[in-house]
């Protein structure tokens, strides 16, 4: 069985990204970048399935500029077997990403496709479901556990106020929740080894996909801040303020 994992390059989760002063875009220059956290869970899950002997090959795919090689190497260092970069300098919407990955799926023919449930830059959480729609195949989103039995995949999904268990047929697109697993740390020697591995590069323009978008970002700005509050000296004062100023009767 073969797995495809989608790996996005995003800002480090500790970093507060700021808009540029002219509001044209975010200021990403010099910001520390890495593998999207949820994609790390996806990679980890793929590797565990391989370690269990259920899976024979893991292919990692990333879409973006040549800088995305670093996240693919991170994947290779963790245990991904083969890396594909779909190269483009354009900033793409989830629908365009899903269409490009569909082309890679048609070529690689994976049985299982693993995504992160959300990318930290787009905050969209759409791409996996979109790909499943384009492929007309099963989907298992926000997965916190995955088990393969024969041609069926048993999935526990995070839903509002609890969890849900579903069983899907292969091929299936899964999106990983943080709870799916604890991603392993990459060891330096593995990272050095991964540097030597080759990355298959495909030009996005050569895939014959219309990636133009009907969404236009007009401007970006800092969200309105909550006004700085006050410090109270004790619980009594707190309750009194809540009551007198906020009208919260407790």
């Amino acid at each position: 069985m073969k797995i495809l994992v989608a790996i996005k390059r995003v800002q480090d989760y500790n970093i507060k990204v700021q808009p540029k002063s002219d509001g044209s875009d975010v200021d990403i220059e010099g910001v520390k970048m890495g593998v999207n956290p949820f994609d790390e869970n996806a990679i980890e899950e793929a590797i565990r399935l391989k370690e269990k002997g259920v899976v024979s090959e893991i292919v990692g795919v990333s879409i973006g500029s040549s800088l995305n090689q670093d996240v693919l190497r991170q994947g290779l260092a963790m245990g991904v077997d083969k890396a594909i970069l779909v190269e483009t300098d354009k900033v793409l919407q989830p629908l365009a990403i899903a269409k490009l990955i569909k082309k890679v799926v048609e070529k690689e023919k994976p049985d299982l496709i693993l995504f992160g449930k959300l990318a930290l830059d787009s905050d969209a959480g759409q791409t996996g479901q979109m790909l499943a729609g384009l492929l007309n195949c099963s989907q298992g989103t926000f997965a916190s556990s995955v088990e393969i039995k024969g041609t069926e995949v048993f999935i526990t999904r995070e839903i509002d106020g609890g969890t849900e268990s579903i069983v899907t047929k292969l091929p299936v697109v899964l999106t990983a929740d943080l709870r799916l697993n604890e991603p392993r740390f990459v060891k330096l020697p593995d990272l050095m080894m991964a540097r030597k591995k080759s990355i298959e590069t495909i030009k996005a323009d050569d895939l014959g996909v219309d990636v133009s978008s009907k969404l236009k970002t007009i401007n970006v700005s800092e969200p309105p801040q909550r006004k700085e509050g006050i410090k109270v000296k004790d619980i009594k004062e707190l309750l009194q303020k809540l009551n007198d100023i906020e009208g919260i009767k407790i």
Binding site: Q11, N14, V17, P19, Q93, L95, L118, D121, S122, D123, A124, G125, Q126, Q129, M130, A132, G133, S138, Q139, T141, E158, I159, D160, G161, G162, T163, E164, S165, I166, V167, T168, K169, R179, S213, K214, L215, K216, T217, I218, N219, V220, S221, E222, P223, R226, K227, G229, I230, K231, V232, K233, D234, I235, K236, L238, L239, K241, L242, I248, I250
Partner: protein, 310 residues
């Protein structure tokens, strides 16, 4: 068209906010109810202000709608709509992107504001940036950040109920079971008061022992940080933040919570925020209307006692 989320008997409250958002477009509004045995629910929904039509798909296999089947239905009838929206919940987030792909249109997640003329404001980069987006798609597909839109009422409406025949199940997946946490407390997503605890509570026992009396006395729901959930002090379902639930209560009390980006994401729309933390420089104080620098193990029991007296 609005995708309605429900438990078979009652609509989720956030649906009323989504209808409020739909009214901004000024057209007629249809509410889509997919389920099993939802006659009564549809009748109730027909009383909602501003709704013109209830479109009902009622079939045994739709009791727990799978994304594949739901998206199949919505994209089929969706061709005829200009706008398709839903509240930004895990239910809709599972289904709507698939619908958008089937309709070959882009989707916008978690809209904070609709500024007319198919222009939207949404937050990106873990809530640190607001982007204004204009969409030229023929069908506008998006989810809304419920607390940012006014809920419509449930008294004046007289919507037509249209029974539609559900297509055969696609059988790409099957539903097995669900596990929801049982609690006497109000559900986190709708609670008027939420108190959240962090890693500093130290253990599952302490988490419960310290927070429960205060929650009970306030009639509050309990939330948790990811650190508290990961440490096993609290169940996953009550995690507040980017990866968990987004809440916007009247009063939010953060107890021993540092104020990480991802946590703030889930509570910053609360009307009044209180933070109790023993570190005067904790980030959470920047987001709190009222901050108390104190040891939570003393302050919280004291608050529980004082609240019960009033």
């Amino acid at each position: 068209m609005i995708l309605a989320e429900h438990d078979g008997k009652k609509l989720n409250n956030v649906v009323f906010n989504a209808i409020g958002a739909a009214e901004i477009f000024g057209g007629s509004i249809d509410l889509l109810i997919i389920g099993k045995g939802v006659d009564e629910l549809a009748r109730l929904a027909s009383k909602i202000d501003g709704v013109d039509k209830i479109i009902k798909f009622d079939a045994p296999h739709l009791e727990h709608p799978l994304a594949e089947d739901a998206a199949n239905i919505i994209s089929e009838i969706g061709q005829d709509y200009r706008v398709i929206l839903a509240p930004h919940t895990w239910f809709s987030r599972n289904i709507l992107p698939r619908v958008a792909a089937l309709l070959d249109v882009s989707m916008i997640s978690d809209v904070l504001k609709i500024t007319g003329d198919n222009t939207y404001i949404r937050s990106t980069y873990a809530g640190n940036v607001h982007a204004t987006i204009k969409s030229d798609e023929p069908i506008q597909v998006f989810t809304v950040h419920s607390s940012k839109f006014k809920a419509v009422g449930l008294n004046g409406g007289d919507a037509l109920i249209v029974d539609s025949k559900a297509p055969e199940p696609l059988n790409l997946s099957r539903w097995e079971k669900e596990r929801k946490i049982e609690s006497d407390r109000p559900p986190l997503i709708n609670a008027k008061v939420v108190i959240s605890g962090g890693r500093s509570l130290g253990s599952a026992e302490k988490f419960n022992e310290v927070l429960s009396p205060l929650a009970d006395n306030l009639g509050a729901a309990i939330g948790a940080t990811r650190a508290a959930v990961d440490a096993g002090y609290a169940p996953n379902e009550i995690q507040v933040g980017q990866t968990g639930v987004v809440v916007a209560p009247e009063l939010y009390i953060a107890i021993g919570v540092s104020g990480a980006n991802q946590h703030i994401y889930g509570m910053k729309d609360s009307r009044v925020v209180v933070a109790i933390n023993n570190d005067p420089d904790a980030t959470i104080f920047q987001f709190a209307d009222y901050g108390l620098v104190a040891d939570l193990f003393e302050a919280v029991p004291e608050m529980a006692t004082l609240v019960s007296k009033t």
